[in-house]
Amino acid sequence: MNITHPYVAWESREVPTLKQQLPNDFENVLKKMYEIRFFEDEVQDLYSAGLVRGSTHLYQGQEAVSVGAISALRAEDTMTCTYRSHGATIAKGAQIDACFAELLGRAGGLCNGKGGSMHFTDASIGALGSNAIVGGHLPIANGAALAAKFLGTGKVSVCFFGDGATNIGAFHESLNLASLWKLPVIFVVENNQYGEYSPVKSTTSGEKIVDRALGYAMYGVQVDGNDVVSMSAIVADAADRARRGDGPTLIEAVTYRHSGHSRADLAAYRPEGELDEWMKRDPILLLENAIKEFNPDGAAIIERIKENARTEVNEAKNRAVSWPEPDLSELYTDVMD
């Protein structure tokens, strides 16, 4: 069924794709995507080796969403995200060794080891926080946008969350308020097809997630989340609108997570062959194909960037592993004055 939805740009606007152009700064974009990919690969190993505790939620396959989005934003813009946030936090510019250290529970971690995998936060780069409560950060993203508007800083607040989060109350309250107050916020649903072990259709009514924008008279766009150029273009539009005072946008980025939901989840619930299909649309692969297509030296450039990223991530991990545990006094600090 085709819904005529005046707020959905998807049907009415040409969205640029990797088939047509490379990202402006494609080398950096690829590098970030590789950093995230390798970071997450290492995390899986560290987890298996028993060095990462609790839960981890990996981001392989979704790199184009946050890397694309953040490439369209300014350094001072703020970001909130979920427990599946290693990717976005690195994309925003966090030091990779500090990310590893956080996962390892070490001093020098983003949060001195007090937050862990689900709470990556880096105030220095506007990474306001990762949230382990599904939907818990959407209201907070509004708050950051409210401050930007009030103080006239021109900052935009970007908020990443999953398809599953669109069914929780906080989602609804946040979208309504953002629309009503025309807050400079960009809601990016990373529709990776599953919330935990449940396919999105089994938990989420409506034809498309982005249709929910209509109820709030909010701009809504569905976009190929594996295409970093599309992601970037759509977010650039949304950021312009936000900075102009025209309010929020709901972006449904259609993507896929390569691994299971968390930790040891082998994702047995996925239909046979589904992963294979999506691997053909791996965001890194798509970007590399485009680079090779548009650039005669593509293959060599890719190789160099990839190796650089691999080395950097590896060195960052080695540094972090050598750092000490937080001092026991850290247990008691940062509660209240």
């Binding site: 703020t78 909130t80 949060c111 001195n112 007090k114 937050g115 709470h119 936060t121 880096d122 105030a123 306001l128 926080g129 949230n131 409560i133 818990g136 950060h137 959407l138 209201p139 907070i140 993203a141 509004n142 708050g143 950051a144 946008a145 409210l146 401050a147 930007a148 009030f150 103080l151 900052k155 607040s157 109350g169 906080a170 309250e173 946040s174 309504n176 308020l177 009503l180 107050w181 850290e330 600090t333 940062d334 509660v335 209240m336 004055d337």
Partner: protein, 325 residues
């Protein structure tokens, strides 16, 4: 500054206005706090003075309200969020307990959240089970929140001002049964975490907040007239709690009676007795005693609601028993 007479209700917007005048980054948000001046008229005049950008009417979306406060506080504002009836904290418990309270700790201090949350709590004359709770007790087990429970117009005024300028999340409970209480206002901030010795006495220490503080003072007068000398202490702040003042009093009286609106389970009164017993065991000459509401929701009918609230009689009776132990 000159003292003036003011009622509890009016002391609230007065305190907010005083701080808003000093700091342009203080905002107030909540349902009907703006144009209408608040359903309890506790923000009357603020919209007129500070305008719609600093006094924001919100939809009925308590999670969005607290979230807006958190995010804007992380980005340089100093928001005051009103939740109207404290019972509504239930629909935004996650934002208060899991987000607001833990934000600073989880980020290892990268963000401090100077957020004030205002809630109207307690029995207010027939609001029944979902609009009468002593919700301050819901947050005692959640580290990271200061909790303020004023009893007089002056305390309401001075503590609210301190809450607003505090760099931590502070929950301020405004008791519905006290809105019309009158008193002098000294127009000054009152530090959080300092108890007030309301009446001096030597035979028994009574600790009580809000409506129960007033009933305890009434009881103390009756007891005094019967030769029992009672020290009534109002902690004013539940977190942090001024244990030292209680201990000092106990070292004179050796007897502790805590009077509280609301059930005993998971309550500040229960905490106080446990702490005091554990730390100051030798000060006691009689068992401590907690007077609380029964373990039931708040009923509507006047006679039932009255029976639910600890009465002056009950306090007098328990105090008499305790002092003759």
């Amino acid at each position: 500054m000159a003292e003036e007479q003011m009622n509890f209700r009016k002391s609230i917007p007065a305190a907010i206005a005083a701080e808003m005048r000093l700091n342009p980054n203080i905002i107030l948000l909540g349902e009907d706090v703006g144009a209408a001046g608040g359903v309890f008229k506790t923000s009357l005049g603020l919209f007129e003075e500070f305008g719609p950008e600093r006094v924001l009417d919100t939809p009925i979306s308590e999670q969005a309200i607290i979230g807006a406060a958190i995010g804007s506080a992380a980005q340089g504002l100093r928001p005051i969020a009103e939740l109207m009836f404290a019972d509504f904290a239930g629909v935004t418990f996650d934002q208060i307990a899991n987000q607001l309270a833990k934000y600073r700790y989880m980020s290892a201090g990268q963000y401090k959240l100077p957020v004030t949350v205002r809630l109207a709590n307690g029995v207010g004359g027939g609001f029944a089970a979902q609009h009468s709770q002593s919700a301050e007790n819901w947050f005692l087990n959640i580290p990271g929140l200061k909790i303020v429970t004023p009893s007089t117009p002056n305390d309401m005024y001075g503590l609210l001002r301190s809450a607003i300028v505090d760099d931590n999340p502070v929950l301020v409970f405004e008791h519905k049964g006290l809105f019309n209480v009158k008193g002098d206002i000294s127009n000054e901030r009152i530090p959080l975490g300092v108890a007030q010795v309301v009446t001096r006495g030597t035979d028994l220490t009574i600790v009580a907040t809000q409506l129960m503080r007033h009933r305890s003072v009434e009881a103390a007068e009756i007891l005094n007239s019967r030769g029992i000398s009672v020290e009534v202490i109002d902690p004013r702040t539940l977190v942090p709690f001024d244990d030292a003042t209680i201990r000092e009093s106990l070292s004179n009286t050796s007897r502790l009676l805590v009077v509280q609106e609301g059930p005993a389970g998971g309550s500040w009164g229960s905490d106080l007795i446990t702490r005091t017993m554990s730390d100051s065991w030798s000060l006691f000459d009689a068992p401590p005693r907690l007077i609380s509401s029964p373990s039931t929701p708040v009923p509507y009918a006047a006679n039932l609601e009255n029976a639910w609230l600890p009465s002056v009689d009950k306090i007098v009776h328990a105090a008499t028993e305790l002092t003759s132990y």
